[in-house]
Each structure stands twice: as structure tokens, then as C-alpha cells.
């Protein structure tokens, strides 16, 4: 296998493969993606995969997510059907007292171009007839949707490979050296050399950073999901908490726990998830659960993406974030711009690693 590349990406999840694909659109130099297992074995294979914008905070972060969501229709034209659906997103609330907060959110986001409606109980039930009639209201935005994460990564990989990107899977990076202005990336299957190195190791970013003496403050945050048997299509929207996939399965869950790299599913969180699901959509009571899974989010210490050049290290880039499914088209676009043009079309200074000092 060729050992010299212009650019190497460590990590082939949705973030790394998204970058590799976007690079390959404009870039004719050699690109190699290294993954210690097969892409999707990390967080990208155990996710809800909402393309979610409307109630992320603060507003500049919601805006960043919006730009990425807007790239999705075009992306699916380019790489093929990734089952992206702009369903619209619904966040229900069960206490009337939440309405004021919801209205404040709608007011301030109107200014940045994210249209949010605050729905009455009747309006919620009209949109989503199976929602619990005890709902007080919901925030709604048409910008939100969801995607099939497996198809997304598979399509990114296929398109990238068609454009000449090489993948080396089941190949763990164990050491990184800087020699004569180049990076030497030592892996289970030998050493590779490159000019540009992109770290997209997701929840393993900290240990990859350590190989270069760079601190990438990313922690682990577990989430657990329940999956139902395929049901006839009955949910119209991506609800913040559950969604119905194309094949009829309902994916339920929105949980956060610190459990390191332990990908177990636990009864307490499964029960809480079941409670949430029946509170939102009581009709799910009789639905059969066929599977539970958990995934480990990469959570930067301050909760926001870490993107761009690594300060003090020439030609070294990092992309580590949660919400990587939503953000992958934008991250891929921006990192490509950074490498090819030296600057980005949207400022990303506030996402620099330098903020951690």
C-alpha cells in the first residue's frame, strides 16, 4: 500500500469521512483515512441521527447548526440517497410555565433566521395526532430533520473512494512523529507519511492528541436508545426524544451519563427512556422493543465543537464534537476550505482549540 500521502485523516466516523469526502471533491492530492476498526464502530454507528437545530443554545451555535442542516439536501444530491428527511422538529413541553421560555427562544432566533413557532396544545395534536393529549405545547421548526447515519457514512466513503481517497481499516494509530516538516503516522499496519494531518478521533481524541503532546479536552458522555419493531408510519415529525425511521422502527432516547467508555445498556436508563416515550406518545405502550443500544458521545469540556488548526503545530487540524451528524457537512466544507484556501467562509475562531489555553 502507498505510504506517502498529502493528507491523512485519523478516524473514519461521520466527521472524518465527511472531511475526507469534501476534501476529495476539490483536492487531487492523495488522502488516506485510518480507522482502528470499521467506520460506524464508534459513536457514528450508535446515534439518534437527528439533524437538529432549533433549540440549541446559544444562538451563534444554533446558527452554526443551521448552516450545516441547509447543506443536507445538496449533499444527498451529490453522494446519493442518505435517507435525509427534513421532517420538521417538535419539542413538546408538559408545563404551561415553559411557554414563556419557548416564546423567548422563538423571538430571539427569529433575528438569526431560524423560524420557531410556539404551538398550542391543539396545534401540537393537529400536527402529531399520536402525541399525548396532556401536552401543553411545543416549539416547532421546519429546519430540523433526520438522516440514516449508516447510509450517510457508507455514501461518504463510497463517494470519497470514487474520488481517489484510500481507507485503511482495522488499523490503529499508535504513535505520531514530526520529522522534516512531515508527520509520520505509525499504525498497526506500518508507518505512513503526510504533510497535513487531521485528527477526527471522536471520543478518543484526547489519547490521539497525547501522541503529539496536544491536549484535546474531550470527555465521554453516554446515551442509551431503545428501538421498536417496525410500526406503520404514524409519527410525522422528528420529536426531540424520539423519531420514526424510514423502515418504521421508532428510535427513542435522549439521555446523558458519565460512564467512561462503557457501552453497556442499563435497566434504570432503559426504564426512564420508556417512561419518556410513553409520556410523549402513549400509543407506544403496546409496541415491542426489539433492541437497546448505547453510544459514547465525544463531549468537549465546554460543550462546543473543537475545530480548525491546532495552534503551534503546522499543518495539524482537529475536528472533535458532539452533534457530529448534524454538523458533518459543514465541518467537511470548512476544514476543506482551511486546507485549500487557508481561510474559511464562515468564521470558526471561537471553535479553536486555543480557547482552552
Amino acid at each position: 500500500m502507498e505510504t506517502n500521502y498529502e493528507t491523512i485523516v485519523i478516524g473514519g466516523g461521520v466527521v472524518g469521512s465527511g472531511i475526507a469526502y469534501h476534501l476529495s471533491e476539490r483536492y487531487k492530492e492523495g488522502v488516506l483515512v485510518l480507522d482502528k476498526k470499521y467506520p460506524m464502530s464508534g459513536t457514528s454507528g450508535s446515534t439518534q441521527a437527528w439533524v437538529w437545530v432549533h433549540n440549541k443554545t446559544p444562538s451563534w451555535y444554533a446558527e452554526f447548526n443551521m448552516y450545516s442542516a441547509e447543506l443536507y439536501p445538496y449533499l444527498s444530491k451529490k453522494i446519493g440517497d442518505v435517507e435525509y428527511k427534513r421532517t420538521g422538529g417538535l419539542s413538546p413541553f408538559f408545563n404551561e410555565s415553559d411557554r414563556e421560555k419557548a416564546q423567548k427562544l422563538a423571538e430571539s432566533y427569529r433575528k438569526i433566521g431560524i423560524k420557531i413557532k410556539v404551538l398550542s396544545r391543539e396545534e401540537v395534536l393537529e400536527k402529531e395526532p399520536y402525541m399525548n393529549p396532556e401536552v401543553a405545547g411545543a416549539t416547532y421548526s421546519s429546519i430540523d430533520g433526520n438522516v440514516n447515519p449508516f447510509r450517510l457514512i457508507d455514501m461518504y466513503m463510497r463517494a470519497a473512494k470514487r474520488n481517489g481517497v484510500r481507507y485503511s481499516t482495522y488499523n490503529k494509530v499508535t504513535e505520531i512523529k514530526k520529522q522534516d516538516g512531515k508527520y509520520s503516522v505509525v499504525s498497526d499496519k506500518g508507518a505512513f507519511e503526510c504533510k497535513n494531518l487531521i485528527l477526527a478521533g471522536g471520543t478518543w481524541s484526547r489519547e490521539i492528541g497525547d501522541m503529539l503532546g496536544v491536549k484535546i479536552p474531550v470527555n465521554q458522555l453516554r446515551g442509551q436508545i431503545l428501538v421498536s419493531e417496525p410500526l406503520k408510519p404514524f409519527l410525522n415529525f422528528t420529536i426531540s426524544g424520539l423519531r420514526q425511521a424510514n423502515n418504521g422502527e421508532v428510535l427513542m432516547g435522549y439521555s446523558m451519563e458519565e460512564a467512561g467508555f462503557n457501552r453497556a445498556t442499563t435497566l434504570d436508563v432503559i426504564q426512564e427512556t420508556a417512561n419518556m416515550a410513553v409520556q410523549y406518545v402513549p400509543g407506544l405502550r403496546k409496541a415491542k422493543i426489539v433492541r437497546a443500544f448505547s453510544g459514547i458521545r465525544a463531549m468537549p469540556e465546554d460543550g462546543f465543537p473543537i475545530l480548525g488548526k491546532v495552534p503551534g503545530h503546522e499543518n495539524l487540524y482537529v475536528a472533535a464534537t458532539h452533534s457530529g451528524v448534524t454538523l458533518s457537512p459543514l465541518i467537511g466544507t470548512l476544514i476543506t476550505e482551511l486546507i485549500m484556501d487557508g481561510e474559511t467562509s464562515i468564521p470558526i475562531d471561537r471553535y479553536s482549540l486555543s480557547r482552552f489555553g
Binding site: 420508556a274 416515550a277 415491542k288 426489539v290
Partner: protein, 109 residues
């Protein structure tokens, strides 16, 4: 096995589709599952596991003991959601997206 032999009856996945994943670098049942949905059907891989392992063995030369079994997850057989629910409406690990929206001096940050 013929290319068109159905390996996963629940999801109707053929031998050819499984082989493609392996030739693209996949090595485990879970790699095959994530890309093709083989094993995600109602029987949750009870029927197709061994045939997929056989294909992986044939294509990669890995011995059966080197091919990890699919991760078994709760519930081992389908169970009604109401059996799992405890009817509590207080949540700790499960979050509501709106609760995460914080107001600062009456304004969204």
C-alpha cells in the same frame, strides 16, 4: 453459497451484499449489520449469525474464534414498552431538550 442466497431472512439480505462489506474492509458481524441491516430483523440475528460468520471466515481466512459474536443487548426477545415503563414522570438521566435552553436575565444566551 450462491451470490443470491438469502443470508438474513428477516431483512432479505443476500450473500453478495454481505460479501461486499467484507471486501470493503469490514470484518465483524456488527460491521455487516450496520451497513446492510443484516441481523436487525425481528429475530435479531438468531438465524443469520452463523452464516455471516461463515462468509467472513471464507473471505478473510479469520478463524471462527477470531470473529466476534454480535453484541447481545437487552431485551433478548422483543418485549412491550409498557413492561419496561414504570410510569414515573420524573427524569434524571433522560433530558428534555427545552430544559437545556437556559435563560440569562430573561433572554436566551
Amino acid at each position: 453459497m450462491d451470490k443470491t442466497t438469502i443470508i438474513c431472512r428477516c431483512e432479505e439480505i443476500s450473500c453478495e451484499e454481505v460479501e461486499e462489506v467484507i471486501s470493503n474492509g469490514g470484518r465483524t458481524f456488527d460491521d455487516v449489520k450496520r451497513i446492510t441491516r443484516c441481523g436487525m430483523g425481528p429475530c435479531q440475528a438468531k438465524i443469520c449469525t452463523s452464516m455471516v460468520a461463515e462468509i467472513i471466515h471464507q473471505q478473510t481466512g479469520l478463524s471462527p474464534s477470531e470473529i466476534p459474536l454480535p453484541r447481545m443487548r437487552m431485551p433478548l426477545s422483543p418485549i412491550k414498552l409498557e413492561t419496561l415503563a414504570t410510569n414515573s414522570t420524573s427524569f434524571s438521566t433522560v433530558k428534555s431538550v427545552l430544559d437545556e435552553v437556559e435563560l440569562e436575565e430573561g433572554k436566551v444566551r
